[in-house]
């Protein structure tokens, strides 16, 4: 349960407790933005940033952040001022709030509530709204187009995401992410495979593929980056933003990417469980394995980004409504049947 302390003396420990994911997000975002540029470079036989900080330009993101902090904060004359200024912070708040239910290790979870996954999906729906807010408040046609696309895309792809999460919940029997993780401990399948859900039920492999495609769309990653396609919509809803507000958007997007990847790691790859049973387990190693799984999924997202071209809007909708949604519901029934039979 969300448990507010009755006594205000607990406020400081609560704040510290709540700031842990924030630290993880910020450090991750700096690393991931640098990493994305390096991945892009390596895939295109380049080197990426090499200059700042001597070793492979590791300090590039820090330099970029300092630059963004110093930049002028521009609000367009005809923009809706309050909504324009509010949108980036709401977007970041939404993706940060969702980290509350992610079990980073057996020793740390922001809030161990029973409706974990449901809460996460509910809070991430605020992301769409903040994007529409930014898009409309900018009073710019590119932004508005991006916002509309984003709304249509997120509303559509929430359905297969929820349907595949539901398949996992059918197998796991709980909405609590900590419980789902704990029940995936041990290496029993075929004698050596870890008890991860993706190995427990063959239809969950299909579910994972559908889930991964949907989270690509939800996190606005290529090939579904229509809302912010820089080549046709000049970055969509971000067009009018500059400086620290734009940085907040960037941070929120990367946080969202990590959030959905970590969700995938919890639901399909055993969360913080070590793949080698008891070997290398313990709170710190659990955190390590969990982040490793999440970052691997993030890497696959980057890898896809530098491989595939962008889909068209009608193709995007066809993939969602025509293929993923029917497939995920059929899959849900099959998973349930498998669970009943075995």
């Amino acid at each position: 349960m969300i448990n507010f302390a009755a006594n205000t003396t607990y406020t400081l420990p609560i704040l510290v407790h709540a700031a842990v994911p924030l630290t993880i997000i910020v450090v991750y975002a700096l690393v991931a933005i640098w990493g994305e540029r390096k991945v892009a470079g390596f895939i295109q036989d380049r080197l990426g940033p090499m200059h700042v900080g001597r070793w492979h330009g590791w300090a590039q993101s820090i330099a970029d952040l300092l630059k963004l902090l110093q930049k002028e904060d521009i609000v367009p004359k005809d923009a809706s001022r309050f909504l324009f200024k509010f949108a980036p912070f709401m977007m970041f708040a939404a993706s940060y709030a969702a980290f509350a239910v992610i079990p980073f290790s057996s020793g740390y979870i922001g809030s161990n509530i029973n409706i974990g996954v449901f809460y996460l999906l509910a809070v991430t729906s605020l992301l769409t709204l903040s994007i529409i807010m930014a898009a409309w408040a900018s009073n710019n046609k590119w932004s508005l187009l991006g916002g509309m696309r984003s709304a249509a895309q997120m509303v559509s792809y929430e359905v297969p995401t929820i349907a595949t999460v539901l398949t996992v919940i059918v197998v796991a029997g709980s909405l609590n992410l900590m419980t789902i993780t704990e029940m995936q401990a041990g290496n029993d399948i075929l004698g050596f495979l870890p008890n991860w859900l993706i190995f427990q039920n063959p239809f969950l492999i299909v579910a994972f593929i559908i889930f991964f495609i949907s989270i690509l769309a939800e996190a606005h990653r290529v090939p579904f980056d229509l809302p912010e396609s820089e080549s046709e919509l000049v970055a969509g809803y971000q067009t009018e933003y500059s400086g620290i507000r734009w940085a907040m958007f960037m941070l929120a997007e990367y946080a969202d990417m990590l959030l959905l990847s970590l969700l995938g790691a919890v639901l399909f790859f055993g969360g913080w469980n070590s793949p080698f049973g008891d070997f290398m387990s313990g709170p710190f190693w659990e955190f390590f394995w969990f982040m490793l799984k999440g970052l691997l999924l993030v890497f696959v997202m980057m890898w896809i980004r530098w491989t595939l071209p962008r889909y068209r809007v009608d193709q995007l909708m066809h993939i969602c409504w025509g293929i993923l949604i029917p497939l995920s519901f059929i899959n849900l029934v099959l998973v349930a049947l498998w669970e009943v039979i075995f």
Binding site: M1, I2, N3, F4, A5, A6, N7, T8, T11, S80, L83, I113, N114, I115, F118, Y119, L121, A122, V123, S125, L126, T128, L129, I132, M133, W136, N139, L144, G147, M148, A151, A152, M154, V155, E158, L175
Partner: protein, 174 residues
């Protein structure tokens, strides 16, 4: 004052204030965003009442679904060159009389009712009980609501397809 109380008053005022902005704003998109704040405030109040499932449902269904569709509809259906999403006020006098009457009635009921006040008890399992109730005692209303929604969906699809097939026919004739 306890933190919970402070938060309760904060969210209550935010909810009511946002609702007022929603009603009195001239700009329909501003109204929609004010509605969002209001709905989030209501969800926070649910959280303070330990109704976590209802709170998340409120967010997912109203904020994440219906409100986005409202905004989408407003932005898509507005025709013309200028983005002029203005609301107009009609029947000012009867509407205000009616709403004041309803407000008076609600306040009267609120004051007069003998409310049963119980201690705050944090439930262990909200969704388990909810699920048992929905699938047990209240299965009939649940299924009827589901069928109603299904009928609405089928009707919408039928209307949409009929319209589009007609327009296609018209295009072919032309």
């Amino acid at each position: 004052m306890e933190l919970t109380t402070i938060l309760f008053y904060f969210f209550s005022i935010a909810t009511i204030g946002a609702a007022a902005v929603m009603v009195f704003s001239k700009n329909i998109v501003h109204s929609a965003f004010a509605l969002m704040f209001s709905l989030i405030g209501v969800a926070s109040l649910y959280v303070l009442l330990y109704a976590d499932f209802i709170a998340a449902t409120q967010l997912l269904v109203y904020v994440g679904g219906i409100l986005i569709l409202i905004l989408f509809g407003v932005m898509l259906t507005t025709q013309g060159r200028s983005f002029d999403y203005k609301t107009i006020t009609v029947n000012l006098v009867p509407a205000s009389i009616l709403s004041l009457g309803v407000a008076a009635l609600l306040i009267f009921v609120f004051v007069k009712t003998d409310w049963m006040i119980s201690e705050v008890a944090e439930p262990d399992q909200t969704i388990y009980d909810l699920g048992m109730l929905l699938m047990g005692d209240y299965v009939l209303p649940f299924i009827i609501a589901g069928v109603l929604l299904l009928i609405a969906i089928i009707g919408a699809i039928l209307m949409a397809t009929r319209l589009s097939s007609q327009s296609i026919k018209n295009e072919n004739i032309e």
